[in-house]
Symmetry: C2
Subunit: 443 residues, 2 copies
């Protein structure tokens, strides 16, 4: 595997004996995953997805991506939660957080429908002025408010610009295979459709059509991404205390039981920022229930060593860190020589910036461990589709095992509905009346 778990900076806080003691629970949780016998097992479609997917749809998806690349300067991806986090994370990790601004021969990819901000929509409309665009709307039901509103707006813009028929050839719908109003309308209107599988929840869907279409449009090798995930799938299917996912799940459950309430995912490259956000949904929605779970937080160092670094070093000891590092250098930039040596850094002249960044990481690992914060290090051999595919599967599988170990159903998210019911009631949506008038009284 291109991914390894380095426990040296976690070990002072969790002995091998402690890890071994928790391992039977981890193994039992993993057995429930493999046997599909745990709560929510109907949502385990992601488990063998890297090998068991609809080849015909996948071929059609790659063809659609080619078409979008040839006729569009911009792809507007409309989705919320798992319908945008995965593809955005992959594009930013492999290309750049500045992908849209950089020179490239693939379309810009803007994400919409993940909020209710009018100014955000106004800006996106101004960004597509004079540029050919297509839309990929991603919604299992087709009725989620945020993407539905955005789809109304961008569909109207497409129809205004290209006519109903022209618009139809630029709208790609990723939704339920059979049910739902969006599927029915798309079929009537002649939009090309892709599938959100019934057995894959939003936060586990990045390697389905949900994530793969925008990723492919950005020119990323989806075959390699899937191959990486398939590699992890095979490796992590081998039970035992050497299994990297077992170890990660064991350590994080162990730290939780020792009173750590929060896991901070850290990285040293700005291109990791959206991957952190994807990870926060994956673990936060899977584990944050029944009054339990590690709160997922994230940082990008060295940037945030100058904001949250002080707290991590010396504040409440409520967290542990999981640090993701990419072993092979992501750039050949070096520290230039300066005859004036204003900053006294000539001792570093000629040094690869990547080596300086790695020294910052090593110095921080030691500093934070010294400060009483356990650090798990995830080493990714390189910044590549294969490696990222492995990492995605690793996190998904570790999350399932962790959740069962914690004693929750890692595949539901009942808490997400609560604000929606209140919102619909306040907005007067039929069927959401508030007979007691409690909401109106409070607000």
């Amino acid at each position: 595997m291109k991914l390894t778990v380095d426990e040296r900076f976690a070990r002072p806080f969790a002995s091998e004996d402690e890890i071994e003691a928790v391992m039977p629970e981890i193994a039992a949780a993993a057995a429930k995953v493999f046997a599909r016998s745990g709560e929510g097992a109907e949502m385990l479609g992601w488990l063998d997805l890297p090998e068991n997917y609809d080849r015909a749809e996948y071929a059609r998806l790659k063809e659609a991506a080619r078409r979008i690349r040839s006729d569009s300067e911009v792809l507007i991806v409309i989705g919320i939660g798992g319908s945008y986090l995965g593809s955005r994370a992959v594009i930013e990790f492999l290309k750049s957080p500045r992908y849209n601004e950089l020179k490239k021969d693939t379309p810009s990819v803007y994400f919409s429908g993940d909020n209710l901000s009018g100014s955000d929509l106004d800006e996106l409309l101004s960004l597509i002025e004079g540029r050919d665009f297509s839309v990929n709307v991603i919604s299992k039901s087709g009725t989620t408010t945020e993407p539905a509103v955005a789809f109304r707006i961008f569909r109207a813009e497409l129809e205004k610009r290209y006519g109903a028929e022209g618009a139809a050839s630029r709208i790609y719908v990723t939704t339920d295979a059979r049910k739902g109003t969006l599927k029915a309308f798309a079929d009537r209107a002649g939009y090309e459709t892709f599938t959100v599988p019934d057995s894959v929840g939003g936060r586990f869907s990045v390697l389905t059509s949900v994530g793969l279409l925008p990723i492919a449009v950005a020119g990323i090798d989806t075959d390699a991404l899937l191959a990486g995930a398939a590699c992890a799938m095979r490796e992590l299917a081998v039970p035992g205390s050497a299994n990297p996912a077992f170890r990660y799940a064991a350590l994080r459950n162990l730290f939780y039981r020792k009173g750590r309430k929060m896991e901070i995912l850290a990285g040293y490259e700005p291109f990791q920022l959206m991957l952190n956000e994807w990870w926060k949904q994956l673990f936060g929605e899977s584990e944050g229930k029944d009054g339990k779970g590690l709160y997922p937080s994230s940082v990008v160092f060295t940037t945030d060593l100058h904001s949250l670094g002080q707290y991590v070093q010396s504040g409440e000891r409520i967290m542990f860190e999981t640090v993701l590092t990419v072993d092979s250098p992501c750039s050949t930039a070096a520290v230039p020589y300066d005859p004036a040596d204003i900053d006294g850094l000539n001792f570093l002249a000629g040094a690869p910036l990547d080596a300086v960044n790695k020294a910052a990481m090593q110095g921080t690992l030691v500093a934070h461990a010294d400060g009483g914060v356990p650090n798990i290090v995830l080493r990714l051999a390189e910044r590549s589709e294969e490696a990222l595919g492995e990492l995605i599967y690793f996190f998904e599988f570790s999350c399932a095992v962790s959740g069962y170990t914690l004693g929750v159903n890692p595949f539901n998210q009942p808490g997400v509905e609560v604000y929606k019911r209140n919102m619909f009631s306040l907005l007067g949506k039929p069927g959401y009346e508030d007979p007691t008038g409690r909401l109106a009284k409070i607000i």
Copy 2:
């Protein structure tokens, strides 16, 4: 004031009696601030800054901003921590997180020197290809590694492009007024310099030249920003339990004592994201010490209701939320009518999106309070320079009062140095030898 504290969703978790009981401590902490008699009082320069600043330097700063706007398409701001978070937060809040991508008649503003990523630097270099640019390097000492490396690189690029003299007219240095190698070199080289005041720490420096030069370059009215801060300064100088900063400081200390270990700053507009980051440094570095302090986390809703929402609703009850809302609509966008009504949202057709967003907020306030999470609401009357100036000063003053109430020195950050010492030792910096060889053994 354009800022008010709405406690309705905090009240079920903190009675008026409880607030009154803690108020004498808050008043004592505030008295230490006003009397400049507490620990770290030498760093209270920000306290009367909105009225007590160097008028001549400020006039020179506005002139420099005009020059940059006239001769540059891009300003590269080089700084880390408080040297970039404040100006970036203000530009994104008042203009847009997409400020650089949108059409505008002011220069793009890119931030560099806040990390050690080579790929980040490579990208920024590619973004200035063929575009005239200037550099504002911000560093009190001039020796902080991240900005120093970036300054080496962009200074070399300027000199290559414009010659030594041309480069000198495009380099603006914000640094110590007298001390330090950067100040000495800037004077020799003929760079225009601005001051990082001795009595203002990085995280409190947004309203000094540190923040104001980039903000002015982006075409933001710095007079109005300072006027807003001055308004807050006058209002918050009146002690008493009606003082909004007293109330915020009282509530957050009360929740902390009741076992809440984390404060989540939430907003409903994507343009708030970097303000959240600025706030995280302000409170995290000020309070996260001596094993104490609220861990600052942040979210942008409704986006993150679909990632961290589940956890906030039903996970561990370790947090409270502080929700920032802008009362007046930030956009006139409305929900379009759709004859097909695919999503069943025609009951909202014609409704301002801002009203839907506000209903989401109200629904979430009720949902999270019902779920056991206290919510403090900060209402900002509008998205304007004046209002944001008030908010900035409100947070700074509340932070000082909160920190003293917590029993820490809110103006130092000793923990930030620990990783640096290890890093320098690993990099072989003279004076940072590791006589025991411990680091080399661990890494």
